[in-house]
């Protein structure tokens, strides 16, 4: 058997594993863990109280049990000498134990929970208005996103011109808008502007407020991205005779784009969530539509439905933006 023979290798590895094993502390050895598992099961069967509403003393017993389970699972998951599937299985077991304890002792009346929050009957026929609300949400979000990002980009490029008067104006704008809560901004736009003679529909005022807000944040994001590009890039481009604007368009912005994608996508995801604020200006977007059905049917199920719809849109969006981030990183220039 040559040293590189697989059989020789496995035996050597097993020997080494055994030696390592003998050096392990007591609490990591399989015998101890197995014994502890038996103890925990006996604890659960004989010591855990049987009532729906435990007294304080009984709560102490329950919590003690859970802590012991956590310790047991902890030793398994933190041990890198055990196979990975063991740690994963232990983590799942922990979740199950938690769920089981919760179900057993929370006193929650599950049937009542479903009747109040997951009531299908209440939602019958209401999916129409809810979807209309969703359409309004999407309309506001998409328009504000496009306008906000464009405005932010323009502001950032204007700042790069280093004109002190222009900079003052832009900085003042950004500071004021960022310091104002979005809901206050919306209320000012919706309720106060008409007194100045500026009349617009509720939806337009919603879009305006969100655009202003978005533009302030994205201008800072773009500015940081632009400034993160090495001065040498600008020097090389200007030395070739490229104008400031051409340098920005052909050299700086394409590189800044990659830097800017993570904070930009998280801002846009935040924008979609912020559309809920528009419910305050009597815009019938998703949240307001849900609230209307809730008031009419006297049941909060529509709100849960709206929450689930938000999740269904936002979770894929965040996953997508993560994938985009990763793709940008592996494209160029990160390795050195």
């Amino acid at each position: 058997m040559t040293p590189s023979d697989p059989r020789h290798e496995t035996r050597a590895r097993r020997q080494l594993g055994h030696e390592h094993y003998m050096h392990q502390p007591l609490f990591r050895r399989y015998e101890f863990l197995g014994a502890m598992l038996v103890v925990l099961v006996l604890y659960a069967v004989f010591l855990l109280p049987n009532t729906q509403r435990p007294s304080t003393g009984q709560w102490a017993v329950i919590i003690m049990f859970f802590l012991l389970v956590m310790a047991w699972v902890g030793t398994l998951t933190t041990d890198d000498k055990k196979p990975t599937w063991m740690g994963a299985l232990a983590a799942v077991v922990l979740l199950f134990v938690f769920g089981w304890l919760f179900y057993r002792y929370s006193g929650a009346q599950w049937k009542k929970l479903v009747f109040v929050f997951l009531n299908q009957g209440v939602m019958e026929g209401e999916w129409g208005p809810l979807s209309e609300g969703l359409l309004v949400t999407l309309e506001i979000a998409i328009l504000s996103a496009i306008l906000g990002v464009l405005t932010g980009l323009i502001l950032a490029v204007l700042r790069s011109l280093n004109n002190w008067m222009l900079n003052l104006v832009i900085i003042a704008y950004v500071d004021v808008v960022r310091a104002t809560p979005l809901i206050v901004l919306l209320v000012v736009v919706y309720y106060a502007l008409p007194y100045m003679g500026i009349l617009m529909s509720a939806v337009m005022s919603g879009i305006l407020a969100l655009t202003l807000n978005c533009s302030a944040y994205t201008s800072e994001i773009f500015r940081a991205g632009i400034e993160s590009i090495h001065a040498g890039q600008v020097e090389a481009a200007r030395s070739l005779g490229l104008t400031s604007m051409k340098t920005m368009r052909l050299v700086i912005l394409p590189q800044a784009f990659r830097v800017v994608v993570p904070p930009l996508t998280s801002t846009l995801v935040g924008l979609l969530k912020d559309t809920a604020v528009c419910s305050v200006a009597s815009i019938v977007e998703l949240l307001r539509a849900a609230l209307q059905i809730q008031a009419w049917k006297a049941n909060p199920t529509p709100l849960i439905a709206a929450t689930i719809i938000y999740l269904l849109i936002l979770i894929p969006l965040t996953r997508l933006s993560n994938r985009l981030e990763v793709r940008m990183k592996t494209r160029f220039g990160v390795r050195r």
Binding site: E235, A236, G241, L250, R258
Partner: protein, 248 residues
């Protein structure tokens, strides 16, 4: 190597530069003839790079005048982009555009400054890549190239604008030793072709072989100048002798 001394290609008159209170350039004046290769050497902090960068106003001279082929670079109302198009600059840290391939790096300025169309820019670019020996790397990105290859692409990029004069700011200082030769070879062939060059460098072998004129700077002034033979063999100033003894 630069035999014809016809026109004055670069003229610097009493260039002064202050960085806040730091007096970096204390009145530099020099003339570079068409086709000449001028090397600028000296200890670090002497202001060599600052002086070179003042010539195309990457640094703004505090006072003084610069003329490139008769065009007054330091004029308050000069079209700086037009002037810079006639000056090629090669940097110590290459400064290639990482989001573009080698050939795209080279094509960018001719297309957007000289107005060449894609085909013409492509032809010119490939011709230059051939000259620097990197035709097969035309479609690779800078981060896939070695330092020496990147610098050669940077030189091709500067040459694509067909400038009247080329400035080199320590072109080989950031390179591993085995790659310095390939870049110096490209610079030598440019000198043979009659390009007017100003080179800030520490490569004494190259300078001795290729330079027509050497400026030795220290503490913001030119302490000595002359041909390589004059400066290296018969330096007149003590400071020059001190500096040379350390590097030769």
């Amino acid at each position: 190597m630069g035999e014809e001394h016809g026109q004055v290609m670069v003229e610097a008159i009493e260039i002064q530069k202050y960085f806040k209170d730091l007096h970096v350039l204390r009145g530099i004046s020099t003339k570079v003839m068409r086709g000449q290769v001028v090397a600028i050497i000296g200890p670090s902090g002497s202001g060599k790079s600052t002086f070179l960068r003042c010539l195309n106003r990457l640094e703004e001279p505090t006072s003084g005048e610069v003329f490139i082929d008769g065009m007054e670079v330091t004029h308050p109302r000069v079209d700086l982009n037009k002037v810079r198009a006639e000056i090629g600059m090669v940097f110590q840290s290459f400064n290639l555009f990482p989001h573009l391939t080698a050939i795209e790096n080279i094509k960018l300025a001719p297309m957007h400054v000289r107005g060449l169309n894609d085909k013409e820019a492509m032809e010119r670019g490939m011709g230059l890549l051939k000259k620097v020996g990197l035709v097969d790397k035309a479609h690779t990105f800078p981060d896939q190239l070695s330092g020496g290859q990147q610098q050669r692409v940077a030189i091709a990029r500067a040459l694509a604008m067909q400038p009247k004069v080329m400035f080199f700011d320590e072109p080989t200082s950031a390179l591993d030793p085995e790659m310095i030769g390939e870049v110096l070879d490209v610079m030598k062939s440019m000198a043979r072709d009659g390009m007017t060059m100003m080179v800030v460098s520490h490569e004494m072998g190259f300078i001795r072989e290729v330079a027509d004129h050497i400026l030795i700077m220290d503490g913001g002034i030119i302490i000595e100048e002359g041909t390589p033979a004059q400066v290296f063999e018969h330096p007149t100033q003590q400071r020059t002798q001190n500096f040379l003894s350390k590097i030769l």
